[in-house]
């Protein structure tokens, strides 16, 4: 678990080291903000998964959302 965590953090740092200089050089502020946001989200998600924190499962939500329509289409199942 520890190693996985370290790996994920290192991966995040590696991605940042790869992209940020390029973005700064091209003076893309907006892109930098979007990049940082998505990267933080990604690292947080990966860390939460490794630590087995309760992450809401999107599939569950979709099943609830589209369950009625599905039952309408396939009454058998």
């Amino acid at each position: 678990m520890f190693w996985n965590l370290l790996l994920v953090i290192l991966l995040g740092v590696g991605i940042a080291l790869y992209e940020v200089p390029k973005l700064l050089k091209r003076q893309m502020r907006r892109e930098l903000i979007a990049f940082s946001g998505v990267l933080l989200l990604a690292v947080a998600l990966a860390v939460a998964l490794i630590l087995r924190l309760p992450v809401p499962n999107p599939t569950r939500g979709l099943e609830i959302l589209f369950g009625p329509l599905t039952r309408l289409l396939y009454p058998a199942s």
Binding site: L17, V20, P21, L24, K25
Partner: protein, 571 residues
């Protein structure tokens, strides 16, 4: 990385200026711009100072004229000039003929003009007034001729040095095809090309690159067949090079290729004038570099590296497909071996699987290690073989075959199957006509092996995908590297997977964007003359033999009617 942000562009510009200043130091501008002096002694001293009494600089002072009142000096570099022509055409007339004719006597006042116009009987002679220009000429093999009291110098082109004769190219030897190869002299090489393409639209444009080496570089193309944008791009890239030396076309290659970090070679190179001529006629650009027989051809695409010029002389249908097979075997056979023996034994037919298991019995390493060891050994042998003096090459073969192959198997270090696999890949890798491409493929075996060792077949396919993606992302002077496979131009596959006969290849490659795409008249397929009981009208002949006449195509030059008739004349 943050440094770049804090400081705007200015310091880097300053830095560039500093670097540039340091680059200039080797040959101070001030001296090069200096005019040639009237004072002969000063000129001589200057030349001697510039060369620092280098032993190959020859400075010969002499007097002539009827009263020996005219002082002149001859400066040249020993070994770069042809001494016979120098003495025959330059020195002799000066020393023996003091009077041109009745009216013109050599006097200190008119010596220069008379020498220039009447006495030096050499075809190409230049007149210079700047030290820098003179230096360049002297270093290129001209002789410098100073006359006391004149601020000009004469430079007859008396180039001549020890030169290799035209030989068969060592790296590309054919069974059928011309046997001449390029040499180290640029002029000889351009002449070899010019002899094959007799059109004034074949252009050779000269450049000089290298602050120290001042290497001559020649961009060759056929005007009207080449895409002008490509030529401009080639020129732009060559002009932007600022380095101290270009000693071989490989230096140039690194500077002008499109993608800096790729194992694939993005330029074709050859020693064969026929290949260069074919490329030029196809609408490509050739780059000749002085002092090397290797000529670069751009744009180059990957499929070309599987084409040998000999394919077009001796038609062998299978050669192309064999090479594709070879490239596949070289790239994947070792990794397939590892993947199958490690992860997917069930895919191997039972009988073979049993004998393979028996062969691997007692081998202390996993299959990946085994394969890696043998492949590295092979590469070591190959590398040693290329660097080794010829006379001991035999020994290497014996050592490689017996000691490393048979003994390793008998000692139980490796299985006999991996020896077969490595030997097969060794052979197939030499089927790839282009040496650089063959090296690349061989290099890529190693990551493939590792992937196979870790992920089995999945790894092999992943590796192939990555290689394919990488290749698809490459370009050579704007032309996609995998063209014409992808972006697919199926009409041109007839020159990729096999070699279609010449009468089928009517068009030049699409993406070379030649302004003149048509190579030849269409419909020139040779056919036996139709069986006719008696001679009929010519109209029947025209209709029956070659299908279409010279219909609608303006750009090629050929007399279709002549051909139609000569084909049918004798039956």
């Amino acid at each position: 990385m943050l440094r770049k942000v804090r400081k705007p562009l200015k310091p880097s510009e300053l830095k560039m200026r500093k670097i540039n200043a340091r680059l200039q130091e080797l040959q101070p501008k001030e001296v090069l711009e200096r005019p040639i002096s009237r004072d002969l002694d000063y000129n001589i001293k200057l030349m001697k100072d510039l060369f620092g009494n280098s032993s190959d600089l020859v400075v010969r002072e002499f007097h002539f004229g009827s009263d020996k009142e005219i002082r002149v000096a001859l400066v040249f570099i020993d070994g770069l000039v042809d001494k016979i022509s120098l003495s025959e055409a330059v020195l002799k007339p000066l020393l023996y003929r003091t009077i041109v004719d009745e009216e013109r006597r050599l006097l200190p006042g008119n010596a220069f003009e008379l020498i220039r116009d009447w006495l030096i009987t050499f075809a190409s002679t230049k007149e210079v007034d700047k030290v820098g220009d003179l230096l360049d000429l002297v270093l290129a093999g001209f002789a410098a001729f100073f006359v006391d009291g004149f601020e000009y110098a004469l430079a007859p082109e008396v180039k001549g040095w020890k030169d290799r004769s035209i030989e068969e190219p060592k790296t590309e030897s054919f069974i059928r095809g011309p046997r001449d190869g390029f040499t180290e002299t640029l002029r000889t090489n351009t002449a070899l090309i010019r002899r094959r393409i007799r059109t004034p639209r074949l252009r050779f444009e000269m450049y000089q690159v290298g602050r120290v080496t001042k290497t001559d570089i020649c961009v060759a193309y056929v005007d009207g067949l080449v895409n002008p944008a490509t030529v401009d791009e080639v020129k732009r890239r060559i002009e932007s090079i600022d380095t101290d030396s270009i000693l071989e076309s490989g230096y140039l290659e690194d500077f002008i290729k499109d993608n800096a970090w790729t194992p694939f070679t993005l330029l074709d190179r050859t020693e064969r004038p026929d290949k260069v001529a074919a490329a030029l006629v196809e609408g490509r650009v050739a780059i000749l570099v002085d002092n090397t027989p290797f000529v670069l051809i751009v744009p180059a695409v990957f499929t070309e590296f599987l084409q040998s010029a000999e394919d077009y002389y001796e038609w062998s249908e299978s050669a192309r497909s064999l090479r594709w097979l070879a490239i596949l075997i070289t790239l994947t056979l070792p990794s397939l071996y590892v993947a199958l023996t490690t992860f997917h034994q069930e895919m191997i037919p039972t009988g073979l699987a049993l004998s393979m298991a028996a062969g691997r019995e007692g081998v202390p390493f996993p299959a990946v290690m085994e394969a890696l060891m043998m492949e590295i050994t092979f590469d070591l042998l190959r590398e040693a073989g290329t660097r080794m003096p010829r006379s001991v090459g035999q020994t290497l073969g014996v050592v490689g075959a017996i000691v490393l192959g048979q003994a390793a198997v008998m000692a139980g270090i490796v299985s006999p199957f991996i020896v077969i696999v490595v030997a097969l890949t060794a052979v197939t890798s030499f089927l790839i006509p282009n040496y650089s491409a063959s090296l690349t493929i061989r290099l890529l075996r190693y990551p493939m092996l590792l992937l196979a060792g870790m992920f089995g077949l999945v790894g092999v396919f992943l590796g192939l995908m990555v290689i394919l993606l990488h290749m698809a992302s490459l370009r050579s002077f704007g032309v996609p590297y995998l063209y014409p496979i992808t972006p697919a131009v199926p009409a041109e596959w007839k020159d990729v997977f096999y070699r279609a006969p010449w009468w089928k290849m009517d068009l030049r490659p699409l993406l070379l964007r030649s302004p003149n795409r048509r190579r030849q008249a269409p419909g020139q397929r040779p056919e036996p003359p139709p069986v006719r009981p008696e001679r009929e009208t010519e109209a029947v002949v025209e209709g029956g033999g070659r299908k279409d006449g010279a219909g609608g195509n303006r750009n090629y030059t050929s007399g279709m009617e002549n051909k139609v008739n000569t084909g049918k004349g004798d039956d």
